[in-house]
């Protein structure tokens, strides 16, 4: 209906100045209406719950009484909480570093081979990213099975004794990171491959004429040219990894002895399974600082690039 009004010839033929003004007004009204479903969705199901989480975190367990920072004080006094903080940081940082390295290396190998074969390899290597994480983690759980582990069988061929993949705290931490790296590095590979293709070939030619070794070519040409994309991919992945849930939940469910719990899974354990919603909300809020820092950097990069164009 608004469209028809906007096309109404009286607006165009009327007083030119106010007609134009009206048209502009109409245009912005239409635009606002078009964006309204999006605004409502974000406001009701994202912004409001995010704010509500802060309020919830200040209530007591029965949600009847305001306790201020009581939940946070309680958390600070618990060893499990500090274990979760330690594990979350270890998990996210280690996983992102390895994902970035493996993604970078694999992207180089794919970039090296003749162009017509690249599509096939890229397609194969992206498979872990396409499978729903909960489903592929099940496959890993089965590969890590204490009695029938197919990985331990392979190690047995080389005379290596079976590894308690999910049974012992140190190995369980390693396992959740391994699965996360497996799922996430194809994403880095795709991003870096796209970035590698945008580096002008002349730069490499100039470098090799100057007698640069392959290492110098990577260090002085590839890395500086890809700095932006490396940073933004790593920050993105840091957010996603830090807020991970599926992998840890399916693979270890936080065990053994809470050693692999991260914020997401522990908040679920405390808030939904334990029935202490305010405490769960308080736990999940600890993700906010690192998310905010990463988001600020990403946003700064995007606005910077936006103004360059």
């Amino acid at each position: 209906m608004a469209d028809i009004a906007a096309r109404n010839p009286t607006i165009l033929t009327g007083d030119r100045r106010s007609g134009l003004h009206k048209l502009m007004q109409r245009k912005s009204t239409i635009a606002f209406l078009m964006a309204l479903p999006l605004i409502l969705l974000i406001a009701i199901l994202v912004a409001y719950p995010a704010g509500y989480a802060v309020y919830l975190a200040t209530l007591n367990k029965g949600m009847t009484r305001f306790v201020g920072f009581g939940n946070f004080e309680f958390l600070f006094g618990r060893d499990t909480f500090w274990l979760v903080v330690y594990q979350s940081c270890l998990f996210a940082i280690t996983a992102v570093i390895f994902k970035a390295i493996i993604g970078f290396v694999v992207a180089h190998f794919v970039h090296n081979i003749p162009a017509k074969g690249q599509r096939k390899w890229r397609g194969m290597l992206l498979v872990p990213w396409v499978i729903p994480p909960a489903m592929s983690t099940l496959a890993w759980l089965w590969l890590f099975d204490p009695s029938y582990s197919a990985l331990n069988w392979l190690l047995g061929i080389f005379g290596i004794e079976g590894i308690p993949w999910t049974g012992e705290a140190g190995w369980a931490r390693f396992s959740v990171i391994l699965v996360n790296v497996w799922i996430g590095s194809p994403f880095f590979m795709i991003m870096y491959l796209a970035a590698l293709k945008s580096v002008p070939e002349q730069l490499y030619e100039a470098a090799s004429i100057d007698g640069a070794t392959w290492w110098q070519r990577i260090w002085y040409v590839t890395l500086p040219m890809m700095r932006n994309i490396i940073a933004i991919t790593a920050l993105f992945s840091l957010i996603v990894t830090f807020a991970n849930f599926d992998i840890v939940r399916v693979l270890t469910a936080g065990g053994p002895l809470n050693s692999t719990h991260i914020f997401g899974t522990w908040a679920f354990r405390v808030g939904i399974e334990g029935g202490d919603i305010p405490l769960g909300a308080a736990v999940s809020l600890f993700m906010v600082p690192i998310l905010a820092v990463a988001a600020t950097f990403i946003l700064r990069d995007i606005t910077k690039r936006g103004s360059e164009v």
Binding site: I4, A6, K27, S28, T29, I30, A31, F32, M34, A35, L38, L41, I42, L45, V46, A47, P49, Y52, A53, L56, V106, F109, I113, R122, G123, L125, L126, V130, I131, P132, A134, M135, S136, A139, W142, L143, D145, Y148, A150, P186, I190, M191, I229, I232, I239, V240, A243, F245, R249, F263, F268, G271, I272, I277, A281, S284, M287, L291, A294, A295
Partner: protein, 302 residues
């Protein structure tokens, strides 16, 4: 091979020869490591397939786990004849398709408004969309849990333990991303195109449907595939908000019903996991290029 022949056929130019020999070796090493990485990346899905074709007796036998002596489709037959599994599949399919339709309708229209029809606060909203994309579901599920209880008390609508609640929830994960990449695609369309349409008397809606959607079709396909993949794979929300077996979606259904206590029927679990992974994998196999375009657009466009 071509490099090697050049290298051997040009002894008078040792410098050039050594360079191409280097390149030939680099190529060989690249293939070698690519094969290693492909084995690492494809091992779990292949092992899923291997296990799904085995009998329970063979799985628990102390034989080579990577070899199938008596291939059987019994696991598939058992699982697909279970009513319960078909219910999970149906729930997942309906939820994913509805979420895709809802997401694309909301995000294409909103992205058009944000990219082309500036209005008060539109730049802030575009940034806000991006920020929402960065807010993870692990932060929102607890307040949502409480909000659903409040909705039930106030309006008498029970949102808990219904698969259709997921149709309301998943767009929070898919709409921001889809809108974001659609803004990127729409912004890359030349302004002259829609100006010409407007001068010819097209309404904004006509400009969108007759010009923007056809031109940005690759972006729309990429966003659709991405939305479907996210909706199909979502695990936390259905795990937190649904419990009855008739209301579960596929990933949660497989994990909560097939894993019972200490008795793991791995043949069936792997079959279920493979069937659960199949729809996104099949779509990916056919529309790989769109998938990759969407993936790279998410972080690079803007």
């Amino acid at each position: 091979m071509a490099d090697a022949s050049i290298a051997s056929g040009a002894p008078s130019r040792p410098k050039y020869g050594s360079m191409s020999r280097d390149r030939a070796w680099a190529l060989r090493w690249s293939y070698f490591f690519l094969v290693l990485f492909a084995i690492f990346f494809l091992m779990p899905p292949i092992y899923m397939l291997i296990t799904s074709l085995k009998t329970s007796a063979e799985i628990s036998a102390a034989a080579n786990p990577w070899w199938i002596s008596n291939p059987t489709l019994q696991n598939y037959i058992d699982l697909l004849s279970q009513n319960q599994f078909l219910v999970f599949f149906r729930n997942s399919a309906i939820v994913s398709i509805c979420v895709v339709i809802l997401t694309m309708m909301i995000s294409v229209i909103a992205a058009f408004a944000l990219a082309r029809m500036k209005f008060w606060g539109s730049a802030t909203l575009a940034t806000g969309v991006f920020l929402t994309y960065l807010i993870p579901e692990t932060l929102l599920f607890i307040p949502l849990f409480k909000m659903f209880a409040w909705v039930n008390e106030t309006f008498g609508i029970q949102l808990m333990n219904h698969w259709w609640t997921m149709i309301i929830l998943y767009p929070t994960l898919t709409v921001p991303f889809a809108t974001w990449i659609m803004i990127g695609y729409f912004a890359s369309i030349p302004k002259e195109l829609d100006e010409a349409a407007l001068i010819d008397g097209a309404t904004w809606m006509q400009t969108l449907t007759k010009i923007f959607i056809p031109v940005a079709l690759p972006g729309i396909i990429a966003a659709t595939i991405f939305t479907f993949t996210v909706a199909w794979a979502q695990f936390l929300y259905p795990l937190a908000f649904t419990t009855s077996t008739s209301e579960l979606v596929l990933p949660v259904g497989i994990i909560t019903t097939l894993i019972k206590g200490d008795v793991f029927n791995w043949g069936q679990i792997m079959t279920g996991a493979l069937l659960g992974a199949a729809p996104p994998l099949i779509i990916y196999a056919f529309l790989m290029d769109y998938y990759i375009a969407g993936l790279t657009a998410g972080a690079t466009k803007g």
